[in-house]
């Protein structure tokens, strides 16, 4: 078996190595490519399972590579990283299946799946990052690995979208790098420490610490799509559906949100962050983003665009959770990292299915789509209800904890934000559900690719959304079960607050 100090590295390598091998494959080697993809995904899942067990038992896992004096690449597993790693690993497996079905006949598959694997490697790497340097390294690597995916189709739109994506993320990356290097100069190597590694620095360098925080926040906020840094996200919608799923649920946006959580809890620590007045700024930014994203989503006719603005809004719940002091809000924010991922990936899978099966891209074309594709639409419905926060889907749990936490911390205005946002969510999701289920289907679909057979669409396209929808339901229904995302978020909150 793998020794403890190599396990985190091995988890990264299970997607990195297949990714590099896939690049070298011939375009037509379907079987080998699929085998490599799935073998990597399954192996990663197995290793992550083992890791969860170990972390639950309190063992430490740390892989360390010395880059230069005082600069270490550190991968280790604490409760927070395990949560994110598990999410990405599970969703990667599902997305891989989906992507194989989605892209099987389009060109450049080796290139696509190669970068796809690199993208997940980078995500897992930044999830397991044990210090800020490592985080920055994988954060930039993620940018690089996703650029080819966004540009994949090669149309002028795709190239343009990829350029916008790159402009935003690399500028953000530069700010993050500056902030991180500054912090390194100020405080030495920035190791992620529960309770905050800067906790002792209170009262010294306050101005510098505030400036560094905003540099880091700006860098992370780009990927987390905090308003006004969200401009790339709707443009990046030109990418193929599995990529959108990856961007929105598994990797990019999540990486930004995860980074904010890390910086607040494990770099600054809640106490220092609050005493510097950083949290209230973050709370305001997050709230503005939540409302703004929802409002913009209302008026989008393109289904993927509507979902994109919904992401802008939903991801900021995570930042909102981090900005409210107290374990309950922390639980809400952290658990939403998982819940939003599962629900949003479901929605994107479904959107991809509509486009791929029927050529339906717009909300206005979705009349009666539920009758033609009931399973897909059912999955979509679960995801949408979850986003609105209807029990018992997972989204309800997150919002519940966020609300409780806000009330607990005396930030009543946050409740108002939550309620408004939920109403707006309902405002842009219910019309879709209504059209899909209750309107009559048109005589013919815009572009029907897959004829209705025993299944409503190709099996690799159908199963992933069904599975993730079930996961979203399960995460809500069995929230109290051991090793549920909620339980795990509580574990994280306990450790962060030293309870």
């Amino acid at each position: 078996m793998i020794p403890d100090h190599l396990l985190p590295a091995a988890i990264v390598l299970t997607s990195l190595v297949p990714g590099l091998l896939i690049f070298a494959l011939d375009e037509e080697s379907h079987v080998l490519r699929t085998t490599l993809n799935l073998a990597g995904a399954v192996a990663k899942l197995a290793l992550v399972g083992w890791l969860i067990l170990g972390v639950y038992e309190g063992r430490t896992f740390e892989s360390r590579l010395n880059l230069a004096p005082g600069l270490d690449l550190v991968l280790n597993a604490d409760a927070l990283s395990v949560l994110f790693v598990t999410l990405s690993t599970v969703l990667w497996l599902v997305t891989t299946v989906y992507a194989i079905g989605y892209l099987e006949h389009s060109p450049h598959r080796s290139r696509f799946f190669g970068f796809f694997s690199l993208c997940v490697s980078a995500t897992v790497g930044l999830a397991l990052a044990g210090n800020l340097l490592t985080f920055v390294i994988f954060y930039e690597a993620l940018t690089l690995a996703t650029y080819p995916l966004v540009a994949h189709r090669g149309t002028p739109d795709a190239i343009q979208g990829a350029r916008v994506y790159l402009t935003y993320t690399l500028s953000g990356g530069a700010l993050l790098l500056t902030g991180a290097a500054w912090l390194h100069a100020l405080a030495g190597p920035v190791t992620f420490t529960q309770g905050g590694m800067l906790a002792g620095l209170e009262g010294q360098h306050d101005t510098q610490l505030v400036m560094i925080f905003f540099l880091l926040l700006a860098g992370l906020g780009v990927k987390a799509a905090l308003v006004p840094l969200h401009g790339w996200l709707p443009q990046a919608m030109v990418a193929p559906a599995p990529v959108s799923a990856l961007l929105h649920a598994v990797a990019v946006v999540k990486a930004g949100a995860f980074g904010i959580v890390r910086v607040v809890y494990d770099v600054y620590g809640v106490t220092l962050a609050e005493s510097l007045g950083l949290l209230s700024v973050l709370a305001v930014l997050a709230s503005v983003t939540i409302i703004y994203g929802s409002i913009r989503a209302l008026s989008q006719d393109g289904l993927k665009k509507r979902l994109a603005y919904s992401t802008v809004s939903q991801v900021s719940y995570i930042a909102l959770g981090a900005s409210i002091v107290g374990p309950i809000a922390t639980i809400g924010g952290v658990v939403h990292l998982v819940h939003q991922g599962i629900m949003k990936i479901t929605l994107f899978f479904c959107a991809g299915n509509y486009a791929e099966t029927l050529g339906v891209h717009r909300v206005s074309e979705m009349d009666g789509v539920g009758r033609r594709m009931p399973w897909t639409t059912l999955a979509f419905t679960v995801g949408a209800l979850g986003m609105i926060g209807v029990p018992p889907v997972a989204g309800f749990v997150s919002k519940w904890y966020l609300g409780l936490g806000a009330a607990d911390a005396g930030s009543d205005w946050v409740l108002l934000v939550l309620v408004t946002s939920s109403l707006l969510n309902a405002g842009y999701f219910f019309p879709i559900l209504f059209r899909a289920w209750f309107k009559d289907p048109p005589a013919s679909w815009p572009e029907e690719h897959v004829p209705a057979g025993r299944l409503e669409t190709a099996a690799p396209l159908l199963w992933p959304p069904v599975v993730t929808a079930l996961l979203a339901l399960a995460a809500g229904l069995f929230a109290a079960a051991p090793v549920s995302p909620l339980e795990w978020a509580e574990l994280i909150a306990r450790r962060e607050y030293g309870l």
Binding site: P148, A151, H152, L166, G173, L177, A181, H184
Partner: protein, 489 residues
């Protein structure tokens, strides 16, 4: 007794003479010379890594009368890099040059190589002048090899500017000998005291070298000369020749002038470096041809190297090592990455018949290995992880801020962003499938119809080099710092 230092210079000289005398066998002799020279250089590197600084008194006279060759961590690291890069270029060149230019390329190339090794190993200030001239003359001759008027003109200008630089350097050496009575670097360092002589000699020697290192605003000669040369030569010019001049400035600074000049000179170098980073990156972004882009990118990268001087000047002894390691890492990474980029550009130029960035789509998509090499080179040039440049920039930024010289940071960040802009302008071609380029199949068809076929070996070389820049130097750079540990002979 095997004198590896002397062999590192003598072997390429012998190879050059062999290639001159037997022009029909020039490639075979050249490659043999390349392999042997690289072995000698690697031996030097290994010996230094094992803990001894090397010094060889040629002729047995010893300083100050005789000339010595010497290698410490700094020179050994650059020597090894230069020789590995040169070996890669040699392998690539086998395929590149046709029957007409082979007999000209190989002997000049080996002479240039001898000059590089001689320069990295020199311990005598006048001997450095001779190696500089050998370098400049062979480089200009190689750069003009295509015989096109633009190439000849650009390289004539390069030769003349280089001569201006070396003449200035030589006056500095003359005054230094007049004042100190020695030409040996170590002895001169021991004798030099702060004062008008030190400052004048510094201004003359370093000023001359800055011209050769193409530090902004003295860079004007570089882009046309490097862009017009044949691809393997451009690779050597940008990756190695400019680097050699920079090495000399650093060497003189560390050994000779650092202690006798005040911070003002270092600040000036840093300011010029910032100018180079911003201006070079901007011009690279605006360049319409790939090789010109690569050449301007060299101007910018040289700027980063000079940004370390003001930090070195202020740093306490404990941090000097870190900074030296970082600047060395940056130089090494750029060496591999830029050579890889130029070699890739050469392949694209062969495949497409031109190097206009906007029209490179079909050829770049038909050569995925080359696209990957350009991508990796781009990662290293921008300074994204994992690459040696990233670590170097991290050290640069945190030292600048940590020592209170935060004003160097914005230039670095701006340069990084501009660099991403110019790199991805090229890379976007790898994905574009607009109507202009037709579909992938058209692109392949066009390539198949083209008379030029690009060999697998020629494609593998730049890929290997850029992989070294990214994966090896980005993840396993620690030994560089060990090399820099103080090791007295």
């Amino acid at each position: 007794m095997i004198d590896w230092l002397a062999l590192a210079v003598a072997l390429p000289l012998l190879g050059a003479v062999g290639a001159v005398m037997l022009p029909g066998r020039a490639p075979a002799i050249g490659l043999a010379g390349a392999v042997l020279t690289t072995s000698a250089a690697l031996s030097v590197g290994l010996l230094v890594a094992q803990g001894t600084a090397l010094r060889s008194d040629l002729g047995g006279w010893g300083a100050p009368l005789g000339i010595a060759l010497a290698a410490d961590g700094l020179s050994a690291a650059l020597l090894v890099m230069a020789n590995l890069v040169a070996l890669c270029i040699s392998v690539y060149a086998l395929d590149y040059f046709g029957a007409g230019s082979r007999r000209h390329f190989w002997p000049l190339w080996l002479l240039l190589w001898a000059a590089l090794n001689g320069l990295f190993l020199a311990a005598d200030l006048f001997n450095l002048y001779v190696t500089l001239e050998l370098l400049g003359i062979s480089a200009a001759a190689l750069g003009a090899l295509t015989g096109r008027p633009e190439a000849v003109g650009a390289n004539l200008r390069y030769l003349l500017v280089g001569l201006l630089g070396s003449m200035t350097y030589l006056l500095g050496v003359a005054l230094l000998y007049a004042g100190l009575g020695t030409l040996d670097l170590k002895l001169a360092a021991a004798a030099l005291t702060p004062g008008p002589l030190a400052w004048t000699v510094f201004a003359l020697m370093v000023g001359g070298l800055l011209l050769k290192a193409a530090l902004f605003p003295l860079h004007f000669w570089l882009p046309p000369a490097h862009a017009q040369a044949p691809a393997p030569v451009s690779a050597a010019l940008s990756a190695l020749v400019v680097k050699a001049a920079f090495y000399l400035v650093l060497r003189l600074w560390v050994d000779l002038f650092g202690a006798v000049t005040d911070g003002g000179a270092a600040t000036l170098l840093g300011a010029l470096g910032t100018g180079a980073v911003v201006w070079g990156s901007w011009r690279a972004f605006r360049a319409e041809r790939l090789k010109l882009l690569a050449a301007y990118s060299t101007v910018a990268q040289v700027g980063y190297l000079f940004l370390f001087f003001p930090l070195l000047a202020e740093a306490p002894a404990t941090q000097r090592q870190d900074l030296l390691g970082a600047v060395l890492l940056l130089a090494l990474t750029h060496g591999f990455a830029k050579a890889g980029l130029f070699l890739s550009a050469g392949l694209l130029q062969k495949a497409a018949g031109h190097d206009r960035i906007a029209d490179l789509g079909p050829s770049i998509q038909g050569l995925p290995a080359v696209a990957l090499a350009i991508g990796l080179a781009g990662v290293a040039l921008v300074g994204l992880p994992p690459s040696g440049t990233f670590i170097a920039k991290w050290v640069l930024l945190s030292s600048a801020i940590g020592s209170g010289q935060w004003w160097w940071a914005p230039g670095v960040v701006l340069g990084t962003l501009l660099a991403s802009a110019y790199v991805f302008r090229v890379l976007a071609n790898a994905f574009e499938r607009g109507p202009r380029h037709g579909s992938l199949h058209d692109a392949r068809g066009e390539l198949a119809a083209a008379p030029v076929s690009i060999g697998r070996l020629a494609q593998a070389v730049p890929l290997l080099m850029t992989l070294i820049a990214v994966a090896v130097l980005g993840l396993e750079a620690e030994p560089l710092w060990d090399l820099l540990q103080d090791r007295s002979p």
